[in-house]
Amino acid sequence: MKDKDTIIKLENVSKTFWIRDTKPQKSFRDIKNLITGGNKHKIEAVKNVSIDIKRGEFVGIVGANGSGKSTLLSLMSGVYKPDKGGKAQINGHFMKLSLGLGFNAELTARENVIINASIMGLTFREIKRKFNKIIRFAELEEFVDTKIKYYSRGMKARLGFAVAIHASPEILLLDEIFGGVGDEKFRAKSENAFRKNLLEGRTIVLVSHNLNVIKDHAQKVMLMHKGECLKIGGHEEIFLFYKNTLKVKELKILA
């Protein structure tokens, strides 16, 4: 009964990447490395993280750049498989949003919306019914038949968020969707969507540098630092810890 409400469960999850540097091959040793797989180095992106996320929870993830936040989202979604010994589970359909991803640049907004909505399980009839609402929410009426490659970052962010809200996946994994967009109106609108019950009943994980958004909406905050989860708790507790222990500049947003 308790487990039925757990939507995302990470148990001792770690993720190590082996990156091979690609340099132009000059010497015999380089060619040897190519064959033997030498010259690799190890990146421990996420180290031993555990968390339980329940149905309807809004969880914020904070941390400096490169602290493993985005990798953690990919682990939650099951797109990455955790290292041996860890267990990651997601129960339900998710949509992961991050800037510029999720859309095919060569297709128009209309086509991208239809594909994404279709994959989220909407039938043609439902898509037809929702289509105008999606475009109106994103305020892109004039650019419906423009290829995504001509869109600005802000426009892409708006479109992605509009699809996510209307296509109604049970779980939203949001990766810095406001980051660097500088579109105040869209931010206000999305926050409004968070506030109103547009997203009620859905489980949301939001990675953001914008601590204000997290403070206002997240019931649970997770602090990542160099791949480790330092603390999980309420935002006051976490921000205080963040401020005192890590002394990160970004905190001035909080003022």
Binding site: H93, F94, G102, N104, L107, S118, G121, T123, S168
Partner: protein, 265 residues
């Protein structure tokens, strides 16, 4: 005015639109293939016809002893060959071209393979229509044995499905596979009975017939389209078994290594 879905709400059945989804994916694939070209859709017709003309002129100069209906003979083999070639070449990169979906939404990635094959199958269908139209000019009546052609199409689809499962998985780790496959295709073309009849090469090297199931598929398709003969059921059964084994291997490989796709591509 909310945006929640009436009766279906949260716990929707995500397979209720499976066929629509596969269709929409291949439709956009099809569109993308000819995007920004002037002739657009007509390339699906122009490409095989130009190939046909070139091969026809080259081979009919080389071989003095002509097969009957040589143009149609080449064309019937060529369309099968082109389907096989296009579908496998496209399929190798399917995980990469659809990465934007794999990464961001939960989906059954086998649907991506199905839609990739469906795109090539659409073109194949158009080519068969073109074949039928061309055959009218040669005043050859369409044979009733054409009803056996779909069986061959099914066999070649199973074969291609298995092959692209294997090849696209290899492509995750070893990106050179695409180039190697193209080279392999270059050779494979010549050991298929496209511009000659089965008797020429397979009487000397019968093993080629068993190693390469495409040969049998081409022969049987031609039997149905051009010769007005029944398919050679022994060959068809052998090819089907071959294709199913390849599909089985493909599914095993895919299940084992697919999870690496998002990390490595």
């Amino acid at each position: 005015m909310g945006v929640t879905f009436g009766k279906k709400g949260g716990g929707r059945n995500f397979n209720n639109n499976k066929y629509e989804r596969i269709w929409i994916l291949s439709k956009t694939d099809f569109k993308l293939r000819y995007a920004d070209t002037l002739l657009g859709f007509f390339w699906t017709v122009v490409t095989p016809l130009v190939r046909l003309l070139i091969y026809y002129f080259v081979f009919s100069t080389i071989f003095t002893k002509k097969l009957p209906n040589y143009g149609l003979h080449i064309f019937s083999g060529l369309i099968v060959w082109m389907f096989f070639m296009e579908a496998t070449k496209k399929g190798i990169t399917v995980l990469k071209t659809k990465r934007y979906l794999i990464e961001n939404v939960k989906l059954n990635s086998l649907d991506l393979y199905t839609s990739s094959i469906l795109t090539s199958l659409l073109i194949f269908g158009i080519n068969i229509l073109v074949y039928l139209i061309v055959s009218l000019f040669f005043s050859t009546a369409v044979n009733w044995t054409i009803i056996f052609v779909p069986i061959q199409v099914l066999i070649v689809c199973i074969l291609v499905f298995g092959l692209i499962l294997i090849l696209s998985t290899i492509n995750i780790f070893f990106r050179d596979i695409g180039k190697l496959w193209e080279m392999f295709l270059l050779g494979l073309f010549w050991i298929n009975p496209i511009f000659y009849a089965k008797t020429i090469i397979f009487e000397q090297f019968p093993a080629l017939m068993y190693l390469n199931p495409l040969a049998g598929i081409i022969i049987n398709t031609r039997n149905g389209l051009l010769m007005g003969e029944m398919p050679d059921w022994n060959i068809a059964a052998y090819d089907l078994a071959y294709a199913l084994v390849v599909l089985g291997i493909g599914l095993i490989v895919y299940n084992k290594y697919f999870y690496k796709a998002a990390e490595k591509l």
